[in-house]
Structures are given as C-alpha cells and as structure tokens.
Symmetry: C2
Subunit: 118 residues, 2 copies
C-alpha cells in the first residue's frame, strides 16, 4: 500500500483524486445520472475531466456506463457493487468535511496569522 509499485497502491493512486471521489459521492447520493446531470452536480468539473474520471471509474469496475442509442444521445452512469462499496467509504469523508470545514478554516487563519511571510 505504501510501496510505490504495489498493485493496491496503484489502484489507490488512480481513485484518490477529488473528481473521482465527488462523482462516487454524487452517484451514491443521487442514484444513476447522465453525463450532463453529473456535470451540473459536480460543480467546477470540466467535460474533459468528467469524461476522464468516468472512463477511469468504468475501467476499474466501479461504475457502469449505459448508452441509449437515441438522438440526442443519452448516457447513464451508475454505481456497480464494487463502486458502491468505495462510495460508502468515501461518503463519510464528505460528511466530515462539511462538519469540520469551519474548524479547518479557523486553523488556516491562525496559521496564516502566525506565518505572515509565507
């Protein structure tokens, strides 16, 4: 896990980024979503990163991508069991962040006050 070339480390490194985690959290909270819904839900994500992160999640067996051959196209993403497992572990981090954001911001201000030139 801590070794650079360990498989679990590689897996971790591929999933431990903010966009992937936000996507997992959103899919857990809101259920299946199409591309544009995800883009609206996950504020600030570019189409490129959304595509890339979703492809990655799909490739790693966490998310299922379903294309409906209509026009305009409709593509729906949903959690697979493996992805739901991870999403359920990531979710508490999101809740912690909401709960502790104030405290973190306070620590930040304190730090910045104590280290003016930096």
């Amino acid at each position: 896990m801590f070794a650079r070339l360990c498989p679990s480390r590689e897996v971790f490194a591929e999933l431990a980024d903010k966009w992937s985690m936000l996507i997992l959290m959103d899919l857990l909270a809101c259920g299946p979503q199409r591309f544009s819904e995800l883009q609206r839900a996950v504020g600030g994500v570019s189409r490129k990163m959304l595509t890339q992160s979703l492809r990655n999640l799909e490739r790693n067996g966490l998310v299922l991508r379903t294309v409906f051959p209509e026009t305009p196209p409709r593509v729906v993403y949903d959690l697979l069991p493996l992805g739901r497992e991870l999403a359920e572990l990531v979710d508490p981090i999101g809740r912690w962040t909401e709960r502790r954001a104030e405290r973190v911001m306070a620590a930040r201000e304190e730090f910045d006050a104590a280290h003016p030139g930096g």
Copy 2:
C-alpha cells in the same frame, strides 16, 4: 459540498489528494514520524511534494510540526485530533484498496480487452 465555491468543497479539494491521504494513513498507523521517515514510508513521494503536503496538513490544523533545534535538524510530524478524525476515515479506504485491488485489476483487464483501441 458539490458547489465549487462552498467552503467545505474547498477544504475537501485541498485534502483529497493521494499524498495527503497516504501521509495521514501512515501517521495513524506508525505514530509520530520525522520527515525522512515519512519520505521512506510513503514510497515515491518527492521531498517537494512531501513538504508541500505536510505544510498543507499543518496549515489546516490536521498535523503538528515540531522542530528540535539540533544539528542535524530533527523535525517530527504528528496527528492533531482533527487530523486523527480524518485519518480514521481515510484508513478504511486504504484497507478497501488492499482488499479489492485484485478485483479492480481484473475489471481493468476485462475493460482493456473489450476496448482494444483506446
């Protein structure tokens, strides 16, 4: 949380990166560590990124940095209560990664076999 300008989102974005999470996991598992121990423990991290992530964790009130004015210098990093809280949430993700790495790799191979040109 999902809104780009929300404080909790900003906090999340600053902590949801692989190096910070690996550092938190290591400090939780191994207790206080000095800089060079962390660098050895977290395989593949550069001094630059280690410094940067540790400063960040310190600034956000998750980690305590203690300098012993000796030569050669000795600097010890330890979890603060806030950091321990987060580390305890991150840790299960590390364990999940270890437990499921095989399955993820298998999904990956399946995907790559199904999408040869990509």
